[in-house]
Amino acid sequence: MTSDPDGPRTHLSGDGGSVATTEPTSSSDAARVSPVDVFFKNLTRTAGLGLLALIAAIAVFLVVKATSALNANTGHFLTTTEWFPNASPPFFGVAALLFGTLLTAVIAMVIAVPVAVGIALFITVYAPRRLAMPLAFIVDLLAAVPSVIFGLWGLLVLVPRMDGLQMWLTDYFGWIPLFATDNGAVGRSIFVASVVLAIMILPIVAALSREVFLQVPIAHKEAALALGATRWEMIRAAVLPYGKPGVISASMLGLGRAMGETIAVALVLPASFGISWKILAPAGNTIAANVANGFAEANNTGRGALIASGLVLFIVTMIVNMAARAVIARRREFSGAAS
């Protein structure tokens, strides 16, 4: 039976049309394959394998160069909070740095994700169509602002302006351990660094969420509206359930990016070592920021120690990124089976 859309109604099909890239099988036309063809195929394949070799090399060289420093280390690398790799004997550990990395990134995500989902909803559902495209374009452009500029702005503009808010928070909410400070001292804190990170990952999370919201089939939205749903109820019944895996995945990619962000954090945080939940106090450091701050005065063991910390960051971001991809992949299977 043919479908009969009256007038130019648009039907979005749920199954995203992927382009078939099948080609004549090499066995059937093996006779025609020229030596140049074989060479070209092998060339591209070598490049592909070269990419695998590159990843392997990254892992191997990080491990190799970290090992000598780790052998010289007199502290326990994973539990020590101090960082004295240049001393003799060297004494250092990644605990405080890893704590700071995770804490800043998680707070950044908690701030950024709701706002990013709001932006994505604004662009896909609320904004007039004429406005939606330019707004999406601006958000995309902001994703391109280099991180050193966010760092510069965070340090020189945002930090002084956040003092009032931070003092107010610690004055009135200081009874919550997270907002406690020592004698009300606030400043270049984990909180401010997280706000800067949140601003930085906002565009990417918003852009990815927008993509999944745009893919919500019109049929689902119309089903909700035809039942007498308000716009918000339509979003809750049709848009959010469909977009949830995509948003989760986007958030985790944003988390990964926040954890690896270096320069902006290095500029904002005062580079102290220690594990503290007082996010308003002027303290804190992350693995990446410590590499930027500690590199200049690092001796041979110091560089090895930084590489060792980089290896930890590499592993943690890889786990987060893989989890993000797994969420999206499962969703693809799900929607593929359903349609």
């Binding site: 990419l51 902001l142 009032g164």
Partner: protein
């Protein structure tokens, strides 16, 4: 609003309730003014003293006022809808304000120091406290490093993308594709640490612009591979078949038919990748060492780069250095935005055709 009343109004069929109670349009400005006035009062009696709080508090008060009014007049469903609508608009404002503020601050603070002299002088012999100096050496470094990185990354990435789209089947291609994703998520500082470990520490080379460009290459590869892959997939299969049917061998088909068709999209992807790595600081910090002098040779001796220049100037306490940082930031943003806008224009033009 009990459940029974709802079912009876819709169920008994005694007339259609098409009209709902609705708040008059004038109500919303009134609530907004009320929220601001209340915030001002709070401002006077408590210790609120920053604009950020002022905006946040009046926003929250407006939200509360509107929701209460809506629940009373329009019912809870409509109130929820209004609440979320306002929240979404606020989220958008909340996001746009800092993002625009970054751009506005950079322009406002950078434009005063940015002139021809700034672009054409290096920092040689200039202390942090001195007024002169410029970014010429950093500009040279950045341009050479991103040119070298593109030279390495683009052909390599194109070959990988061609393999994935045209030849890749089965395990190997899936593995490669997976690791392209891994590279996409690689923190840029790790790329720098790898070049440090491999090129400088293991091979015993000195820091140079070349070492920096190697780190940038690693960061460019996944972006270009993904962009090229997407574009190659969009080339219609019929085009390839038409070429095969004419007896054109596969490699010529790919080079003469498929690649040219996908070219505008690939160019866009490359430019976006260039824009992305042009602003990278962390990998360069570890690989090019930085210098105050002009060094045209990327293969020997330390070089500077714009992002690195901003980083080092921003860390100085002197206002003269900070001014230089802002001016350099403005230059960098202009460069990156230019690349972005041109890249997207190319993409748009190609789509129209």
């Amino acid at each position: 609003m009990s459940t029974t009343t709802v079912s009876s109004t819709t169920g008994t069929g005694g007339g259609l309730a098409l009209r709902g109670q609705k708040l008059p349009n004038a109500a919303f400005p009134v609530i907004a003014v009320g929220a601001v006035v209340l915030t001002v009062l709070l401002y006077l009696v408590t210790s609120i003293d920053s604009t950020i709080q002022f905006v946040l508090i009046s926003g929250v008060l407006y939200l509360i006022g509107q929701t209460v009014a809506s629940v009373l007049v329009e019912g809870s469903r409509r109130a929820a809808d209004r609440f979320v609508t306002t929240l979404v608009y606020l989220a958008f404002l909340l996001a746009v304000i800092p993002l625009v503020a970054v751009l506005a601050n950079v322009i406002a603070k950078g434009v005063g120091r940015l002139d021809v002299g700034f672009l054409s002088h290096s920092m040689r012999g200039i202390g942090a406290r001195d007024a002169g100096g410029g970014i010429y050496h950093a500009l040279i470094g950045t341009l050479e490093q991103i040119a070298l990185a593109s030279l390495f990354a683009v052909p390599f990435s194109l070959l990988v993308a061609i393999y994935l789209v045209e030849y890749g089947r089965g395990r190997i291609s899936r593995t490669i594709s997976f690791f392209v994703d891994v590279l996409t998520g690689l923190p840029s500082v790790i790329a720098g640490l790898f070049i440090l470990a491999f090129y400088i520490l293991a091979l015993g080379q000195k820091p140079s612009g070349f070492a920096g460009s190697l780190a940038l290459t690693i960061l460019m590869i996944p972006i270009v591979v993904r962009a090229a892959e997407e574009m190659l997939k969009l080339v219609p299969h019929e085009l390839r078949e038409a070429s095969y049917a004419l007896g054109v061998p596969r490699w010529r088909t790919i080079l003469k038919v498929v690649l040219p068709t996908a070219l505008p999209g690939i160019v866009t992807g490359v430019m976006l990748a260039v824009a992305r790595v042009a602003g990278e600081t962390a990998p360069l910090l570890l690989t090019i060492f930085g210098t105050d002098s002009i060094n045209f040779n990327p293969f020997s001796g330390p070089q500077s780069a714009l992002p690195l220049y901003i980083y080092s100037q921003a860390g100085q306490p002197q206002q003269t250095a900070v001014d230089r940082a802002w001016a350099a930031a403005l230059t960098l943003i202009a460069l990156v935005m230019l690349l972005n806008v041109v890249a997207r224009l190319i993409a748009r033009m190609a789509r129209v055709r």
